[in-house]
């Protein structure tokens, strides 16, 4: 025997088959879940568009989308194109963004409780947007720009503080929470300084609502998602290594900091969505764990994104029609529903020895 490295003999084909089969099974389940979730998201959008106080027949939808006149329901076209469809689409897009961003954070930081809505990046977006909204009268592109800038600034600060320590992930989370507390003070200050009308508008926005659903806003968010999604998919590869801890990730060729830097994409995604709808409570936080349950325990960004879309669209629907004569913003519904679910997440997280 020599000590020179010999080319390893190829593995027995039965062993390779076994590996292939074992790899395929969970992948098949994830594919199934994704298909089902995509169908559910489409169904949710349809429900939001067709049902409610003003019911639109499914058969009328295609002509409406084509812009053809409908003699038997003259108002339908306006209601669908100016109210129901924009809301449904904005909800779906924002849900996708929040869900994906949340899952990315939770997996990369290896902490089921570390989603952008808990650790300050969403509040960074909110604070910047509220300041822009009330003091600078920001309109159009400036609002999302301010939100993204605010979120990025908070993330950079978190990253800078967490850097260079073995507990970078933990520290990032704690610093993020501290910064979130400060930013909510800033928001409160702004609220006392402005007129009650502006403050009220800011509050509605802060609660998370789809009331600002207009086609330009939707277009902007859609463009942002189309640009960011492929980048996010690339970063997801780093995320899978970040799950193994900083050391193993580094020795597998992805230095630990790089995976965390990949979070910038998630931050941008959440921030753009936040600028369009305001921070919708718990969507980023809960989509990941729900998707993981569905996928048999494995985190999946795309499943989380779809869960987010379904949750936001249906919650908005519920907020509009659940209580007669009261239109609750979507954030109130997700907040109310989210609390007990959050409890469940905390309990399972604690059991698994995480967090």
């Amino acid at each position: 025997m020599t000590a020179t490295a010999v080319a390893p003999a190829p593995a027995a084909s039965s062993a390779v088959d076994r590996v292939r089969r074992a790899r395929r099974r969970p992948a098949r389940r994830v594919r199934l879940v994704l298909t089902a979730l995509a169908a559910a998201a489409c169904a949710a959008v349809l429900v939001r568009v067709l049902l409610g106080e003003y019911v639109v027949a499914l058969a009328d939808l295609v002509p409406i989308l084509r812009g053809e006149p409908l003699p038997n329901a003259p108002g339908a076209s306006f209601i669908v194109m100016e109210a129901k469809l924009p809301r449904a689409l904005l909800g779906a897009l924002a849900g996708l963004a929040f869900g994906a961003a949340g899952a990315m954070f939770q997996t990369t930081l290896r902490n089921p409780l570390a989603s952008p809505d808990i650790i300050g990046t969403s509040l960074g977006a909110s604070a910047a947007a509220v300041v822009a909204l009330t003091t600078l009268d920001a309109q159009g592109l400036w609002l999302p720009a301010a939100a993204v800038a605010g979120a990025l600034a908070v993330s950079l600060l978190m990253h800078a503080v967490g850097r260079g320590t073995g507990l970078a992930g933990q520290r990032m989370v704690l610093v993020g929470i501290g910064i979130a507390a400060m930013l909510s003070s800033v928001i409160q200050l702004v609220m006392t300084r402005t007129s009650i009308q502006d403050a009220q508008a800011a509050l509605v926005w802060l609660t998370g609502s789809l009331a600002r659903a207009t086609w330009p806003v939707i277009g902007l968010l859609a463009v942002a998602l189309v640009v960011l999604a492929p980048v996010l998919a690339l970063c997801a590869r780093w995320m899978r290594l970040a799950e193994l801890g900083d050391d193993l990730s580094t020795t597998l060729g992805v230095p630990a900091g790089r995976a965390r830097r990949g979070l910038v994409v998630a931050v941008a995604m959440a921030a753009v969505a936040t600028s369009a709808t305001g921070p919708i409570a718990f969507v980023a936080f809960l989509s990941g764990p729900i998707a993981r349950q569905l996928c048999g325990g494995r985190p999946s960004l795309w499943a989380a994104a779809l869960v987010g879309a379904v949750v936001v669209v249906l919650s908005d629907f519920a907020g509009d029609y659940l209580i007669p004569d009261v239109n609750l913003p979507v954030g109130v519904v997700t907040g109310a529903l989210g609390a007990p679910l959050m409890l469940a997440v905390l309990v399972t997280a604690g059991r698994a020895g995480k967090a």
């Binding site: 929470i177 109130v332 959050m342 905390l346």
Partner: protein, 349 residues
């Protein structure tokens, strides 16, 4: 030796042996600082008043002084600041010792959010409209939220870690806040009253309100002061404390009740003020070591001094308006919090 070990355990402070003599001196220095803070709080502001006028008003010889109203308002403000500052600092120290969590603070652990939601409910649902009316609601909300956060963090067993507690606090805060906004978005009037309560300020409260809440401060302070010695044992961790013969359940319940009452009373009086407890308790721990019998007196004097100074500065920087004390403490407190996280040995906590 035993104090040194405590320091290592909590991972917050250097050994105390070298600083045993600094406690009384520090308290004396802080007392002087507090005096300065009180004087500046009364005399400074958008309109400065001479000290002689203040003295005359206080001695009951205030007729004919043009600024009498201002002076009386500022005196009330200062009294509120002293009470709230002391209560929050002491509660912060006790909370940190109780949970072995150096990041414990009512602003972070959901207490403020609980009080806020309760006040929102009071305003929006029950039409409560006065500060006196808010008091009871705020106190109840703060207590319930504190219990909820700790229960959540400890729910799954395996110990309450700072990270878990802080995250549970953040999550509860997020949840409660969305309930609050849900109630507020539909009512402009409620929101208008609430937004000014929400920032946390020591101004605009009359002495009659102080009198209403005073018994709670007294009870809370008494509870914490009586149990302060147990905090040292609790800081060693459950197993060691039990080994030292502590009745954990009783000690913990007494301290927790004291903390909840103090936080609730402060929030009821001044609205949510964050980070003061965190900062002062940490400063105290850093200066005099881990012995709570020395920490608490420092907090008792240092808390009011800091809050009054923050409030006075807040009034001076934004004349003729003001930056409320609750915002000042957050602006000053968060960098210190970040520093603590950066420096702290989280793993050992």
């Amino acid at each position: 030796m035993s104090t040194t070990r405590t320091a290592d355990r909590t991972g917050v402070t250097p050994p105390a042996a070298t600083r045993s003599g600094s406690g009384p001196v520090l308290v004396a220095v802080l007392l002087v600082l507090l005096l300065v803070a009180v004087l500046s709080s009364i005399t400074l502001g958008s309109k400065a008043v001479p000290f002689t006028d203040v003295a005359r008003v206080l001695t009951g010889d205030g007729d004919g002084i043009a600024d009498r109203g201002i002076i009386e308002a500022r005196v009330a403000r200062t009294v509120v600041g002293v009470l709230v500052g002391a209560a929050l600092a002491v509660a912060g120290a006790a909370m940190q010792g109780l949970t072995r969590n150096p990041l414990a603070d009512p602003g972070l652990l959901g207490v403020n959010a609980g009080a806020s939601l309760a006040v929102v409910v009071a305003i929006a649902v029950f039409g409560v409209g006065s500060l006196t009316g808010y008091v009871w609601w705020a106190m109840a909300g703060a207590g319930l939220a504190a219990v909820l956060v700790h229960a959540l963090a400890g729910l799954a067993g395996g110990g309450v870690t700072p990270l878990r507690l802080t995250l549970a606090g953040a999550a509860v805060t997020a949840g409660l806040a969305s309930w609050s906004s849900g109630l507020l978005v539909s009512s402009k009037q409620s929101f208008d009253s609430f937004r000014f309560w929400q920032v946390g300020t020591i101004g605009g409260r009359g002495l009659d309100l102080v009198v209403t809440v005073l018994p709670f401060f007294a009870v809370g302070l008494a509870l914490v002061l009586l149990t302060v010695r147990r905090l040292d044992a609790l800081a060693l961790g459950d197993d060691l404390a039990r080994g030292l013969g502590e009745n954990l359940v009783l000690a913990r319940a007494a301290v927790a009740l004291g903390v909840a009452v103090l936080c609730g009373a402060s929030t009821a009086l001044a609205g949510p003020i964050g980070f003061l407890g965190l900062v002062v308790a940490h400063g105290a721990r850093f200066a005099v070591g881990p012995d709570h019998r020395r920490i608490i007196p420092v907090c008792l004097v240092g808390g009011p001094a800091l809050l009054l100074l923050a409030d006075t500065v807040g009034r001076l920087v934004a004349q003729p308006s003001e930056v409320q004390a609750g915002i000042m403490t957050a602006v000053v407190g968060v960098p210190i919090f970040v520093l603590l996280v950066r420096r702290g040995r989280m793993a050992s906590l």
